[in-house]
């Protein structure tokens, strides 16, 4: 475990600002998808999707009961992978 970094994490360089802005952008995109599959497809947009049938019901029902959970999983793993890569790109990862 790395506790030896003398470098102050507080010094906000241009690169640091770039890292944080990139992180916030990834978060916003991910949360838009998060909201679309659950509140969107699962609830509010369900009537609009009612024409697409999935095994005895419709696509909105599937998103509400299963689809949104699968997308949530994909989002978290994507975020972990993307951020661990971003950490290295900006050299802010733990040693």
């Amino acid at each position: 475990m790395a506790d030896k970094t003398p470098q102050s994490a507080a010094s906000a360089t241009e690169a640091d600002k770039g890292y944080w802005a990139a992180n916030v952008r990834i978060i916003i995109i991910s949360l838009i998808i998060w909201a679309i599959v659950s509140f969107g497809f699962g609830i509010l947009l369900r009537p609009a999707l009612s024409g697409i049938s999935v095994g005895g019901s419709d696509l909105g029902f599937w998103f509400a009961q299963q689809g949104s959970i699968i997308v949530f999983l994909a989002l978290i793993f994507f975020y972990a992978w993307r951020m661990n890569k971003l950490d290295r790109e900006f050299g802010v990862e733990e040693e």
């Binding site: 506790d3 949360l31 005895g56 019901s57 299963q66």
Partner: protein, 594 residues
């Protein structure tokens, strides 16, 4: 061997396993007691988080709520999984980087105010205690049935067992115990579901069977279910028939609450690195999803099975006879559950048959008048018994029933233990060591943690005797409280440098108090029955029920915090530097104590 003995063997063996692990991994130092020395692998941590998370509400209660309502209760499924996205993206990596033991420590340091820390402790204790009440409801149902004792005795036995391993184990004991509990509970949930899915759809994966074809009729399962419940005057299973605004707010409350519950957040302090905190949330959701993708199938299939048992000759044939219920093995479960008082049926019109239908539906009332029925005769079906009764309803072998008993108890006990740990660390670490007596010895701190646990379990057991709703509904109230108080403070603490000490305290208090008052107005003051002024059927504000109010409370919290921060003294530079350092993984070390 009779069913009672089989249940005892399964429940007894699983308990022996948990207690054995707790004793083997007894915590020595304070650091180990709270955070397991940070040596926990992300996959192990994910599994333990899943056990911690999936409580009586998920295991015992949720599928029953879905079964009797259908689509509209998908809110539980989306709400209790979607919160992990918020947790993984907005909180977990930063709180791990911050590197302290408890949620309130972060709030106290970030908002440079002992008052903020104390308010966070209060929010945490209120939300966690409400949550434990829900667990105790589930413990009562499970023990009442499987030990064939009264609800009250069941609760007391459960309380003693939770106390035993939470007190003597601490986090490390709990972490490994919870891995064992996860294995027991997921097997107990999925094995009967696989059997039932095979019986009804021929598909061994329940999540696929739900959208597959019903073998007996050749129609899709959901189409068949919609048709059969419609014929009995109930609303269609897959249709949307409750208020949309309330549905959205309820889902949002559960999501935000998930990311604001201290016993779940604490888990992310126990991983070695920031990168692991990100993966941990994903692994936790993988293990949770195994149950959550199965739950809607369990609900739909149980509803179909129950309806067909009540109408063995089809919905236009004769209903099941009282004699058949008494004599046929397939109906044994009705007699056993009737003993607990959680299932009731009565031959009101004395025709020797039990007619199950929706007697509030005008069309069915006309049909009933024609046939000489005098109201629905399946008079009581407690939602919380559905999952536990499910293997009996489907006529599965005795060992499956015993396994489900052990699984239900594992779910309730593991969460109760995690919550007690969060409550005890709030009291001993934040309140006593952080505030009242900073020079307390490590031994004294451990002792006070254990006393706090004992007090919390006594209070929760007492309140669990008179719960404000079904297990999952009581738990939903706890989520509303966490959503309105803790989550906004944590998120603003990381993503905004503007929010200051006064703003955070004002925001948390506004969110907590408004939400708590709204809940008490609908559920009774301090959950005492008959002291409520409104009901969730006709709520104070439009269509917003008390269980959905947490999302509104969270918005109030955000707005108040920003407005008050704008009017008061700016955040000092060293706090801005702290926020900056939390945002970057580099330099994350081991936990720092004061």
């Amino acid at each position: 061997m009779d069913q009672f003995t089989i249940n005892l063997i399964f429940v007894g063996a699983s308990f022996a396993l948990y207690i054995g692990i707790a004793v083997w991994a007894r915590a020595g130092s304070t650091s180990e007691f709270y955070a397991a020395g940070r040596g926990v692998h992300p996959v192990t941590n994910g599994m333990a988080t899943a056990a911690d998370w999936m409580s009586a509400a998920s295991f015992i209660s949720m599928a029953g709520l879905i079964a009797f309502v259908g689509y509209d209760n998908s809110t539980y499924l989306m709400g209790w999984t979607g919160g992990y996205v918020l947790l993984a993206l907005l909180l977990a990596p930063y709180l791990r980087k911050f590197g302290k033991f408890t949620v309130s420590e972060f709030i106290g340091d970030r908002f440079y105010s002992p008052t903020a820390r104390m308010v966070a402790v209060a929010c945490l204790i209120i939300a966690s205690t409400t949550y434990v009440i829900g667990q105790m409801t589930g413990v009562g149902v499970a023990f009442g049935r499987f030990l064939e004792v009264s609800n009250t005795t069941g609760l007391l036995v459960g309380a003693v067992i939770v106390f035993a391993y939470a007190v003597f184990g601490g986090m490390k004991g709990v972490t490994y115990t919870q891995v064992a509990q996860y294995c027991v509970l997921i097997l107990a949930y999925t094995i009967p579901a696989i059997f039932i899915s095979l019986q009804l759809t021929g598909n061994p994966i329940p999540a696929l069977g739900l959208f597959g074809d019903h073998v007996a009729s050749g129609e899709p399962l959901l189409t068949k279910l919609d048709q059969i419940v419609r014929e009995l005057g109930f609303s269609e299973y897959t249709a949307h028939h409750t208020d949309t605004l309330n549905m959205v707010l309820f889902t949002l409350s559960l999501m935000i609450g998930t990311a604001g519950l201290p016993h779940v957040i604490m888990r992310f302090f126990t991983v070695p690195r920031v990168a692991d905190a990100r993966w941990s949330a994903g692994w936790a959701l993988v293990f949770i999803a195994l149950l959550y993708l199965t739950a809607p199938a369990v609900g739909a299939m149980a509803r179909l099975n129950i309806t067909e048992l009540m109408w063995p000759n089809g919905t236009d044939g004769e209903a099941v006879s009282v004699q058949m219920i008494a004599e046929d093995d397939e109906y044994d479960w009705m007699a056993t559950w009737q003993k607990t008082g959680l299932l009731g049926f009565e031959d009101k019109n004395g025709d020797g048959r039990i007619q199950y239908y929706n007697d509030a539906n005008p069309e069915m009332q006309a049909k009933a008048a024609e046939n000489g029925w005098e109201g629905n005769e399946l008079t009581n079906f407690n939602r919380d018994i559905l999952v536990l009764a499910n293997p009996e309803i489907a006529n599965l072998p005795g060992w499956v029933i015993g396994l489900v008993a052990a699984g239900g108890l594992a779910a309730a006990l593991s969460t109760a233990a995690g919550l007690l740990l969060a409550i005890s660390s709030a009291v001993s670490h934040d309140l006593i060591k952080g505030q009242l007596n900073p020079s307390i010895s490590e031994k004294g701190e451990l002792l006070s943690a254990r006393i706090a646990m004992a007090v919390a379990i006594v209070v929760a057991t007492y309140l669990g005797l008179n719960p404000p709703g079904f297990a999952a509904q009581t738990v939903a109230l706890a989520f509303g409280l966490a959503a309105a108080s803790i989550f906004p403070a944590l998120m603003m603490g990381i993503f905004s440098k503007k929010v200051n000490n006064v703003g955070a305290v004002a925001g948390m208090l506004a969110g907590l108090v408004v939400t708590l008052v709204y809940i008490f107005l609908h559920k009774g003051w301090f959950f005492i029955p008959d002291t409520n002024s409104f009901t969730d059927a006709d709520p104070l504000l439009g269509t917003i029920q008390s269980t959905s109010f947490g999302a509104v409370g969270a918005m109030i919290n955000f707005v108040v915090a920003y407005v008050v921060s704008g009017m008061t003294k700016e955040t000092p530079q060293e706090i801005k530097d702290l926020v900056e350092s939390v945002r970057f993984p580099r330099g994350a070390g081991t936990a720092q104590d004061h």
